[in-house]
Assembly symmetry: C2
Homo-oligomer: 407 residues x 2
């Protein structure tokens, strides 16, 4: 059971979360609880670090920022003890959660279950573990990066062969689309790992992408549910294997992302190797290029369009200018358009159903929305459109694919 | 160098403290810096624990409460790095600071210097260590109790054979008495360990008692100085061996404590073993009895008076009532007087100068102050008087022993 920052934001909420844990203990389960920092704490600590040292040593960042989870873990253990549930807290290094030494974005490498298992054998019912943190080979504290507590939870579920991994958060499950944009959005009872992965990486901020990857790899049955509503075995959304979903819509959901920018290099030489020449410097500069489109060539020159996160535009421009100065590439100008957004439809049903892309394009055309860039994968179609059409596009697609009705 | 909570209360103050550290590094020293939590943090965390669980598991208390120091240690290391001083942080378990398993009031048992020494050999100049915490034989986090960072600092100074242990705090040294009560109070340049020990345990809250005990035992030259004033080699007060003090007053200082209560058992049987019968149950109940006076016996019965902290009166009354119910002791009634205070004069000069007690009693008598209880040790005389006379008694004694003049 994992409780996010809003689910443990106050002592009262910790008590409410502890009661949920108590219900599972009463059913006879041994429970591992993963906790985040009380909401706001991590931001406060990150603020301290950034103000102290703009180019901070990530090892010290980790030492500071990991402390919020330690507080919640201790408080959760105390709350459970008050309810007469035998519990104790573990910090990452005590388990130990062994990670890589990539400070501030470490990867979990191993979670030896012995220490916690021994305590379960002695009668302890709940192990409360500080999420988001681990220990490097050198013995220093690491953190997993933002949203890392989800990953901690899935990794523990895998390491201990847990029956289920329940992620308690401030929403009651995964929706067909963002309910704030489309009032017909419907909560999904089940969603396939692959679909969740696409939705997670597309900006549906319910679960961290890496936690879904891990869950898929280790076949962890992952449930997302609200810590603010009554609990039941059917609550929330189960993220599971494709074969555990009996019947489903062709399209599972419509996602949107508003922090995508479109960049165009005007008049680059159309020669073999030009894509590598453009995108290698961008990769080296840490620009996350998402979609790429190359226009039809005229007179040996072409335009190259790509998308990247809005806050990386300046970095991309700098890298491209440097590459031109070094003679690696040649172009007339760079156009940056930050007035776009990305709309995606996702569904494993696309594999066996043709015509989803065609239908999507027609729906948008009927609404007078011009598509600027397109990319597709096996279970996803994404388009860039003007940002002002975002709500309209999401609502129209949600209607057209009848996502308000269960499949 | 140890910096207390007020000295690291904000990022600006951490920067100021780091500059002091930089001065010592520039002189060629390797420095170990011990930090407390930012002021207010520990109280906040203790509040969380007490609200969660009034009879808390001290192991979880320690896990929660120790996190404040971890934050400051990381921030101090980052601040030093920003000043181009090679530094890194250590949490108690990383050093490791091995302690007993008496959670919330653990004793330091061993500090192996190898890990930190190895880093000094590699060119690191400052090891920043989170104070107040350690690790139990079982591998769980412990804390040393309130003021424990002073003890951490002295223990490190002893373990590393430090030239000096500088305790930076919000006062500029040790005074002949409390300057808020007596405006003639004078800062002492030097004070003997034994004197400091009496003053610390008498309520002069400059240093934690255990840190002074440790410093005395391991001959650590301890300096108390303000982090808010300009630094110099003569700043603050040096706590040192008696023989390092050339000339001194017979009396070094006058201390007071306002949270003492006087309790009297009226009409107890005066028989061998009666003191043990009374004070054993009190000790078992955790009552810290300080002064004890047994009145002259009449008709085989006597009154027994003792003092204890005001907040332990209820516990003492309960323990005494229980002992009477069990037939262990017999008395007519228990009188508790919380309107008293303790005044003490302290000085190693008393060993060789007779008449200090006589002078003290005369000074108080001349002011019309009635003495209720007296205790003495080799270098201290304490009396209980009505609390309303506290300021008057302190000022009169300070004048009479000419403490405003250097010895």
């Amino acid at each position: 059971m994992k409780f996010g920052g809003t689910s443990v934001a106050t002592l009262d909420r910790i008590r409410r979360a502890a009661k949920r844990v108590g219900v599972e203990v009463a059913k006879g389960y041994d429970v591992i609880v993963i906790v985040s920092a009380m909401s706001g704490e991590t931001n406060k600590l990150v603020g301290f670090v950034e103000e102290t040292s703009p180019l901070f040593d990530a090892r010290e960042y980790d030492a500071v920022v990991s402390s919020g989870e330690n507080v919640t873990a201790g408080l959760m253990a105390l709350t459970l003890q008050e309810m007469d549930v035998p519990a104790r807290s573990w910090q990452g290094w005590q388990v130990p959660v062994r990670t890589s030494d990539a400070h501030a974005s470490a990867r979990i490498e191993e979670i030896p279950p012995e220490n916690i298992t021994a305590k379960f054998a002695e009668g302890m019912k709940v192990a409360v573990v500080a999420g988001f943190q681990g220990i490097s080979p050198e013995g220093r504290i690491t953190t997993l990066g933002r949203g890392g507590s989800d990953t901690t939870a899935v990794a523990f579920a895998a390491a201990f062969g847990a029956e289920r991994c329940d992620i308690y958060t401030d929403v009651d499950g995964v929706y067909t689309t963002d309910p704030r944009i489309c009032e017909k959005a419907r909560k999904l009872d089940r969603i396939a790992f692959e679909e969740m992965l696409e939705l997670a990486s597309l900006g549906a901020k319910v679960l961290q992408t890496r936690s879904v990857e891990l869950a898929m790899r280790y076949k962890v049955r992952l449930r997302v549910l609200s810590s603010f509503e009554e609990q039941s075995d059917e609550a929330g959304t189960l993220v599971c294997d494709e074969e555990d979903i009996m019947e489903s819509n062709v399209v599972a959901g419509v996602a949107h992302s508003r922090d995508e920018a479109k960049m165009t290099l005007v008049s680059v030489a159309d020669r073999p190797g030009i894509a590598a020449a453009i995108f290698s410097p961008l990769a080296e500069a840490g620009v996350n290029v998402d979609m790429i489109v190359q226009n039809i060539s005229e007179d040996g020159r072409t335009d190259m369009t790509f998308s990247c996160p809005t806050n990386q535009v300046a970095r991309a421009e700098k890298a491209l200018a440097a590459a031109r100065d070094e003679g690696v590439i040649n172009f007339a100008e760079v156009l940056a358009d930050t007035g776009v957004c990305k709309i995606s439809v996702v569904g494993i049903g696309m594999r066996s159903h043709a015509g989803v892309a065609a239908k999507m394009f027609k729906v948008l055309a009927d609404e007078g929305i011009n598509i600027q860039v397109i990319t597709t994968s096996e279970i996803k179609i994404s388009v860039l459109v003007e940002r002002k059409y975002m709500e309209l596009a999401v609502q129209a697609l949600h209607d057209a694919f009848e996502l308000d009705k269960a499949g």
